[in-house]
Symmetry: C2
């Protein structure tokens, strides 16, 4: 039927919504969240909302639809019930426990990218992948489909190195050190990274305290030509756009069945041939035990094999933050202090050299750890980082003290003597985010004590930084409610008492 | 933070949506599909959409929110990140395979009814109930929670009878006959029924061809006082409103894990003490085999026991439509012809007497089938139906020919001789809906032949009725593409060939 276009003037986050009067929807034979096709110069499909505020004979459209069809107010266009998307039948097959075939997964991912599936349908798909799991065949198909529905970086090199962390540990600025170490040795390493979603800082947020990180694909290629490597925000270059949609759903539900396809599709899309994946393991990390981490590593390595990416995994200690600083600017400072050899942060340096070292060995070098350490200590890594900063349009002479951090701070002192028994990553994240990170780049936490350190009553244990006084207050109230550090004697045995049905709060990290 | 209200003038089907500028959302620390609290005269929570078309400092609101808070354009109100709904934690527990406790289910259902959970979250919940199943404890809690979050019919009777069909068979007008038979014997039977969602006609649609069916709870009570029974649309009286939300999600996904709680909560909400549930079984029904039907019956009976409803099930033949007529008005005509003893439709009468009879026996009567048949044949059932029609404000003297049916019709004749081998319910539904039903009450199909009937070349097999010529054409094209009736010799063995990966089209009936 013909309906008159009413431009609502709102966008709906990428989803192609139309608002129909209930009676028109009945006549077309659709209900809310079903699909119609709109025919103007071209034909697109849209998801129906029914609304009593839209007049009979009219149809409200969002900006997404207005732009896609170049529609004007009050013109009439053809609206009909859309043919049933085949992909939905495939999702239903998964819901009834069937394994999905490669072409079925391709169709689902294509329809998700094209906006043809509703929130309800995408959520059911993600939930079914979580509950019924996806096997390695499905993970391979999904990775490939996510590559095929996005852009691809084309660099004319036989070997492309990369590193990735599945995330979960605060303060992990390892990437800022690993990339220049690898690139300094002459390898190409086109690192794309993400911004924080649930954490205090993503690698893109940290890097942005040193240099611009948003580029087009073309500019990214220019940077790599100049510096052998880059550290850019992946969100700007449309690699595996399906993942951005999946991540929203996974974030809502605190599940991440697509972890592996998400990681591997992005590596495949930049042409990675050799990859090291870091799996932080321990209290408050995604993987709680080395056994769990090994099982994940097995799948990552096999998936890499199927996609033509030679992959090793590094299972690392994730019980507490890496280094001392947590927060975009504070972490960038710390990385710069280490790469300029002004500061010795042993855990950060050890992790960096293990990851860079294993990548070197994967690339055919011997004694990778020692090589990485030499490059770091010799100043070659610093030189390379400054080349990358320059190529990305930052100040290549930047020093740690040039990076602005929050002016407002609060020092937390120990109320008793003993030693640091634990640091709860989840609560560190809560305090850091309450202080304003990642939006306020200068907000965060700097630890003066880590697990095992001796503490005297009155010692500073950590300092919270904020850009805005009211956010500092918010952070203070968070850390007072649930202290992120436990100090006591080695023999203190009680974790906590449970006297009634407890509310279980779990860590969930979706940043990847 | 304070944001200025912009009234968008659209509603969003009951969901409390706000549209925030991306930068304001960042500042509040929420992303799309998370929740904020809005504080004005009262505090409500709303689901966030981020939009680049909303100015910084402003917030677009839907009609749902405008009405709920009586907001005016351009006034400023407080918007803050909402405390995390506990119910979402419970949904996550189910996603990780945990059985849900009673108070957890109550919280989930309450939040769904209050609009505090997003489409994504509700979909994940429904999907997890489908994949991981819900056990009888969970089904009991869910039924009770759905009763507790809706209205309750309070009739001062010790015994309240009811019948229900899990649906799935076209042409099933049994309820129009069973209710008057039971009420004629002096029992109270407050029947609420649904409109068609995926079928050609729901009981409420059929009944509406005879009398009004939309009433408030109070008016419904008045009708029952007068006539001992009623046949009203359940949607108007807010019994178990959670179910209306679940049904939307189940419909999108073609799954119905909530079938049992949905049925039983509505029975409990009207105070049912004695219930017979019809389980149509066979090709194109929800249950394909008597064994499957028995397993469902076992759960229904046990769930009834836990909710204090004495329940029996009747497993009935569902391979083909019941009687000859399919479509709201055509079915109402057929029911009226049978109850006035003008027509003998043996399968319809047998099914009616089995259901009414088993309900009589459950209520303590002997020889229920014979009693039901006597009431039907004696005219007592007709008298009672006319009392109900009168009490509901219809014309108590209505005769079959007074019910208008579609003026446009198409007779389908057999192209060969043989016998009717099968009737595909799914295709009957497609033809009926293409002809305009349930929206066009006079549209539908009348069968001249049923399974096993001998057919000569040129015989009329069925006639399609429509109110509008273009819908008759649409139905013709549907029945030519996929004929709903198979005619052939008893020895024809081939069902169909499969030469490449087939697209599986399944029957899905959500009407209940």
């Amino acid at each position: 039927m013909k309906l008159k276009v009413k431009i609502l003037g709102i966008d709906s986050g990428g989803k192609p919504f139309v608002f129909l009067n209930n009676s028109d929807a009945d006549e077309i034979n659709v209900t809310a969240s079903e699909r119609v096709t709109l025919q103007s110069k071209k034909t697109i499909s849209a998801i129906v909302n029914t609304s009593s505020t839209i007049e009979k004979g009219s149809m409200g459209i969002t900006e997404e639809i207005r732009k896609s069809l170049s529609l004007k107010h009050n013109i009439s266009i053809d609206v009909e019930v859309a043919p049933f998307p085949k992909s939905l039948q495939f999702i239903r097959n998964k819901l009834s426990g069937k394994k999905l075939l490669s072409h079925e997964i391709k169709e689902i991912v294509q329809d998700i990218v094209d906006g043809n599936l509703s929130e309800t349908e995408i959520s059911a798909f993600v939930t079914s992948l979580h509950i019924d799991k996806l096997d390695l065949d499905e993970a391979t198909s999904l990775s490939q489909a996510m590559v095929d529905t996005g852009k691809i970086l084309q660099i004319n090199k036989k070997i492309i190195a990369d590193k990735h962390s599945i995330g979960g540990v605060p303060g992990d600025k390892t990437t800022l050190l690993v990339i220049p170490i690898i690139a300094a040795e002459g390898f190409t390493i086109p690192k794309t990274s993400s911004r924080a979603i649930t954490s205090v800082a993503g690698t893109a947020d940290r890097a942005e305290a040193l240099m611009p990180v948003e580029f087009t694909m073309k500019k990214m290629m220019g940077i790599i030509e100049k510096a052998n490597g880059c550290i850019v925000w992946g969100g700007a270059i449309d690699l595996a756009p399906a993942d951005d949609i999946f991540v929203k759903t996974e974030f809502s539900l605190h599940i991440d069945p697509l972890l592996l396809p998400s990681i591997m599709s992005k590596k495949k899309a930049v042409g990675t041939t050799h990859l090291v994946v870091d799996i932080p393991t321990g209290r408050g990390s995604k993987m709680k035990t080395p056994g769990e981490a090994d099982l994940l590593a097995r799948d990552i390595i096999e998936l890499g094999k199927r996609l033509g990416i030679h992959t090793h995994c590094v299972v690392t200690f994730g019980d507490q933050p890496i280094g001392n600083a947590v927060g975009p600017a504070l972490e960038a400072r710390e990385a710069l202090e280490v790469i300029t050899n002004r500061e010795n942060i042993p855990d950060l340096i050890d992790k960096t050299c293990n990851i860079a070292g294993s990548l070197f060995e994967l690339l055919g070098k011997k004694n990778g750890y020692a090589l990485a350490k030499k490059i770091l200590e010799s100043g070659k890594a610093e030189k390379k980082l400054r080349e990358i900063i320059k190529a990305q349009g930052g100040n290549p002479k930047i020093m740690p003290e040039d990076i602005p951090i929050g002016k407002h701070f609060y020092e937390v002192r120990s109320e008793k003597s003993g030693q640091v028994l634990w640091i709860e990553n989840r609560l560190v994240v809560e305090v850091g985010r309450a202080a304003g990170a990642p939006k306020d780049k200068g907000a965060g936490i700097v630890f003066a004590k880590k697990i095992g350190d001796a503490v005297k009553k009155g010692d500073i244990i950590y300092t919270v930084y904020a850009e805005k006084p009211h956010k500092l207050e918010r952070a203070k109230s968070a850390l007072l409610t649930q202290p992120p550090i436990g100090i006591g004697k080695k023999t203190d045995m009680l974790i906590h008492m449970v006297k009634e049905s407890p509310t279980v709060e779990r860590t969930f990290v979706i940043d990847r």
